[in-house]
């Protein structure tokens, strides 16, 4: 069973994060430099143009008659600069930092402007910044100017950023794909480790970076060692089973020859108990376990057959469920699990109900009895091996107290689970919940009324 893993960024994620960080850093730094350089260049360029425009305008306006000066200023207004002639310089706006740097640039280009008391200021009527200023004409009147275009447009910068991002994003995608590819062997290894013991796991092919290859090789060797250990143990257990069952068979045949019926029955009981113990121990440790293949069976009929057999043995057992329900499963394992639960139920209860219920995701086989149930505190503990609640459920337990542990283990290999709950007023409900495989086709048309399972 997969345990819940705290979400964590995998190696690929980390590598991508590092790449992203460095790329962002690189991008940020280069953008900053580029932006600064370009802005500087724009200003330099603008300063030159402005300087030339101002020099020409000053000459033309100073040369024209005072009455024509306003009209000349208007004529000199281009789509870049607005010019206005005033008798006196309008007072500067409240927040208008002087652009000393730009003034220096203009003066550097046209030193003659220095004599005209050039003033350059930044005004921001809206979001955009404009350069404004004035210069004094020889007759103490002022030529006022203002840039029409905002100094720096934000849109332009955004577009530039996006353009720079495209190669960065493409690089990221390539990097992610490459890293994913590089780490694929690791993911395959994780999947194999997860499946080990549940499904058949082949050797994991060694691939990927050196570290991953070493881990894969180590995993394969470990897998071989575990397999060898398990198969040795299984063979040893099968041998023990054989060696115990042969003397048990002798004992059983000898018991048949005893004339005293009471003694014979007692001895037969002992032999049966020992046989059951050998069976349950082998079932638990896997000594008898075959690599059973999943086949398509009619689960409902299998359950009905078990119920029929219990009825023939004189127990009060009722079946409640569809007549037919097909699914693909390991039949012997499932039958062992169901038999185990029904065996418990008829031992502790007078009346037993076996219900088969299916919903969209699961098939539930619920075995309910009207016996004493299990104290709530022991519901979990009773699933563990070698636990017997003798005081609560009587002392006639057969075997080692492995029954439910075997069921739990068997269901794990089938992908299902066991739930235990007490019934009201008394009794136990043991339910096998099997995931409904995709290929399961219930073909029951006239399904009898299906009562929901009372799991409380």
């Amino acid at each position: 069973m997969r345990s819940f893993v705290r979400p964590s960024i995998g190696i690929a994620g980390r590598i991508v994060a590092i790449l992203l960080l460095t790329l962002l850093l690189e991008f940020g730094v280069s953008t900053l430099l580029y932006e600064r350089a370009s802005r500087f260049a724009v200003r330099e360029d603008e300063a030159h143009r402005l300087a030339e425009h101002l020099v020409i305008s000053r000459k033309l306006i100073a040369d024209s008659a005072p009455a024509a000066r306003a009209a000349t200023a208007a004529e000199l207004t281009t789509d870049r600069y607005a010019l206005r002639w005033e008798q006196a310089l309008p007072p500067p706006p409240t927040i208008s930092p002087t652009l000393d740097g730009m003034r220096e640039q203009i003066l550097a280009w046209e030193p003659t402007l220095a004599a005209s008391d050039l003033r350059v200021q930044l005004v921001s009527p809206g979001r955009n910044a404009y350069v404004t200023g004035g210069l004094r004409l020889p007759d103490e009147s002022w030529l006022y100017f203002r840039t029409i275009e905002p100094l720096v447009t934000v849109n332009l910068a955004l577009e530039r950023i996006l353009l720079t991002l495209i190669p960065a994003v493409a690089m990221m995608i390539v990097a992610i794909l490459l890293v994913r590819r590089m780490l694929f062997p690791l993911r395959r290894l994780a999947a194999a480790a997860d499946d080990f013991g549940v499904a058949d796991v082949d050797e994991v092919p060694e691939a990927g970076p050196g570290d991953v290859r070493r881990v894969t090789a180590a995993f394969n060797r470990m897998q071989q060692r575990i397999r060898r250990l398990i198969s040795d143990q299984t063979q040893a257990l099968a041998a023990v089973g054989h060696d115990l069952r042969t003397p048990l068979a002798r004992l059983k045949l000898r018991a048949d020859g005893i004339d005293d019926p009471a003694l014979r029955r007692a001895m037969e009981g002992d032999v049966a108990e020992m046989g059951a113990m050998v069976d349950s121990l082998l079932a638990f440790l896997g000594g008898d376990h075959d690599p059973e293949r999943a086949v398509r069976i009619d689960l409902a009929v299998t359950v009905e057959t078990i119920v029929d057999a219990l009825r023939d043995a004189g127990h009060e057992v009722e079946y409640d469920g569809p007549d037919h329900l097909e699914l693909t499963i390991k039949p012997m394992s499932l039958k062992r699990a169901i038999n185990n639960l029904t065996g418990n139920a008829v031992r502790y209860g007078q009346h037993v109900w076996v219900r088969v219920v299916q919903d969209d995701t699961d098939v539930t086989i619920a075995v309910e009895d009207d016996g004493p149930g299990i104290p709530e505190a022991d519901l979990i503990r009773v699933l563990e091996p070698f636990v017997r609640l003798d005081d609560a459920r009587g002392r006639d337990t057969v075997g080692f107290g492995l029954g439910l542990a075997i069921v739990v283990r068997t269901l794990e290999t089938l992908g299902g689970r066991l739930t235990l709950s007490n019934r009201v007023p008394h009794g136990l409900c043991a339910a096998i919940v099997l995931p409904r495989a995709a290929d399961m086709i219930p073909y029951e048309h006239a399904a009898p009324q299906q009562r929901p399972v009372a799991i409380s």
């Binding site: 000898r254 048949d256 008898d288």
Partner: protein
């Protein structure tokens, strides 16, 4: 124990192959007490000698003999002879059972077994063998009817949608009896007699109960099972059966 003796026509001779000396002696005694003549063997070579020593009606074979794979021995024996085989296994293994039955063994006994189980199975297999000889029908092949398939060697029933449908030994025997007489009415008494020649537990339930269980299991896709009751007489399977 003589209560189990069911008056066989003449004492059947059984070759018993078992490596454990004490168990061999005890099993032999149980068989003798029930009127069978047995010839013990403790290994594969001894088994071949015992088989040559005289006519044999049945071989009881422990498949876990030292030095030999019981499955291989079973196969070799089946190739040479049609003698009924019951194999004894200390492994509670379903695979062994299926493989053994597929190789042509007639039945299977798991250790530990008691006298009554042993004798019941021996008797059932001997009877079935006699019946097959009379009818000349080996327990092989597949009987198909109405989309269903009964696989004789594995004693399996497959539904029209291909799912294994579990039948008890008695139910399977009853089904085979009905299939053998498809389209003909079989009297209840005759059905009881036919069923009793098979596994020892067959006669425990009434034929009517078995038929009703079989009907329930043979319904499919909303369709009723093809078994009709002929009032006051017996039962009939009313679909065509093909044997492959």
């Amino acid at each position: 124990m003589n209560a189990h003796l069911d008056s066989p026509e003449s004492p059947s001779s059984i070759v018993l192959v078992e490596d454990d000396p004490a168990l061999r002696t005890l099993t032999a005694r149980a068989l003798q007490q029930n009127g069978y003549i047995e010839r013990p063997a403790c290994s594969a070579p001894e088994m071949w000698q015992a088989l040559e020593a005289g006519p044999t009606d049945l071989v009881l074979l422990d498949i876990m003999l030292p030095g030999t794979n019981g499955i291989d021995l079973c196969r070799a024996l089946r190739q040479k002879s049609d003698v009924p085989i019951i194999f004894i296994s200390a492994k509670g293994s379903e695979t062994d059972r299926v493989v053994g039955l597929e190789l042509g063994a007639d039945d299977y006994i798991a250790k530990p077994f008691g006298t009554s189980e042993l004798v019941a199975r021996v008797r059932a297999v001997l009877r079935r063998g006699a019946l097959d000889r009379r009818h000349g029908r080996p327990e092989q092949g597949i009987l198909s009817f109405d989309g269903w398939q009964a696989i004789l060697a594995r004693r399996e029933l497959l539904s029209p949608s291909g799912a294994q449908v579990e039948l008890t030994g008695a139910e399977f025997d009853l089904l085979i009896s009905l299939l053998d007489h498809a389209g003909r009415v079989i009297a209840r008494e005759r059905l009881i007699e036919l069923s009793r020649t098979r596994l020892g537990d067959s006669s425990d339930r009434s034929v009517d109960v078995l038929v009703s269980r079989l009907r329930r299991k043979l319904s499919h896709d909303g369709k009723q099972a093809p078994i009709v009751t002929v009032r006051g007489v017996g039962y009939m399977l009313n679909v065509a059966v093909t044997r492959t």
